[in-house]
Amino acid sequence: MRRGKRRPAAFFGGPHALHRPGADVLSVQGVTVRYGPHLALEAVSFTVRRGEQIAIVGPNGAGKSTLLKVIAGVIPPDEGVVQVYGDEPDRHVCIAYVPQRSAVDWRFPITVYDVVMMGRLRKHGLFRPPRHEDRLKVEAALATVDMVSMARRQIGQLSGGQQQRMFIARALAQEASLMLMDEPLTGLDLPAQEQILRILDELRKAEVTVLLSTHDLEQAADRFDRLLLLRRRLIAFGRAEEVLRPDLLLEAYGGRLRLVPMADRVLAVADSCCGHGETEVDR
């Protein structure tokens, strides 16, 4: 793993990379990632401006999760460069990453409050206890996600939507400038999804940059500044109407796709997976 020059002070805490003035929030250049022989991402390049909210769309296996992990600094790219505010993501603590839900032991003896407080770890220092300020931020984060009443519950008692909101609260408590979320809406019912989308509106007001991946093209088109269409390579990146074109969608999703006409445009709704076979185009 490419470690880079890690300053000793940064090992346990201490100053991290400053945000270079004038640099883009996020700059991805020629990023390629391989898992063994399998190519997950190929020469992906794009930049994101501050305060934008970007939806990453594409079929399963397109590399959406991988892309988010690379930006978060969880895995290094095999080729290419990721820069957050002009520096490697590894050197920043202002990046919040909310992975897909399943990665955690739900029987761990901690409460919702404990999990959200984890987000404050860098703020109060690794070897120092939380301060009053940290408690306030945690409570504020819990309020934003409407989980204050659940704060003292053990995490195994949460529903799917509540779990997701808890992790978002943790990301909020981090006071991150860049939020990366891996399919936060998948598997939630509509009210729960709406709650999360409302939080995104709050984040927009706070000028937090957001990248999230989703399967729901309609939502993506509706609520996000730009869409990033991904299938190992960057197929398209831009506003909804530029990206959600039948030819581009066909390239991304391969076979199975249904195009549904709306009042002023044709919306493409993707079926579950990237199969081979005929394209059904209903007009």
């Binding site: 920043h92 955690v104 761990f108 003896p109 901690i110 984890m118 770890l121 690794l126």
Partner: protein, 288 residues
Amino acid sequence: MSAWLLEPLRYAFMQRGFLAALMVGIVCAVVGTYVVLRGMAFFGDALAHSILPGIAVGYLVGGGDRGILFWWSLGTAIVAALGIGALSRRTQVKEDTAIGIIFAGAFALGIALISTVRSYSVDLAHFLFGDVLGVSPADLRLMALFGAAILFVVFFAYDAFLVVSFDPIFARTLRLPVGFFDSLLLMLIAVAIVVSLQTVGVALMVAMLITPAATAYLLTRRLPAMMGVAALLASLAGVIGLYLSYYFSVASGAAIVLVSTCFFGLAALFAPERGWLAARRRRPSAHT
């Protein structure tokens, strides 16, 4: 009644035994909380067995000097912990088989080395099953020193261990040195094992690490409470076990482990939410 409680305490060797059992119980319970939560029971058992060759060398080199034995055990334990830890990290999936082969081999090596001494069987029994009545004041001081050091590190790095254990990917996004803390935890387990060797021995060590913590897991909801309850249960088991050993002349290490296991059995049956009876009482239609 009180005479019956106080009688064993008249003897210095019993007092030292009680102190040793208490200290070891508390330290193993605290460290064992992480072992249970992170699913490291097999690792803990493997590590305890892998120490035997180091003990053997210390035994042969020092001729029974407990200080030399302690330092050899400690060195071996740390090396073994880091080695086994590295092994299970190198492959994505924990290599149960490789670890099993290595620890069984190390254990056999230890027995072979010890058996080269003609009158070895009693000493071997002590290494395998403990010798808590043989704890000397010097042993007690070493236990106290290293036990306190372990608790201090756990206290100090509590938040880091919590995040690294619960959500290592999140820890990585916070830029915590996850590998460092993982290794540190392995070393704490190693030192805890060495400190505790004299009470229960290599063969029963894993019980000291996991049983009180597993019992506490059934009874608590938060990590600090789990550690506290585990320490309490371990202390009780140590004390009761030693009384049993005194009055019924049974091996003390085994007595302590048996009491601990009984506590677990009781909790497994009667724990308010997670016990077996509680689960049965919940109506089938209700679902958490």
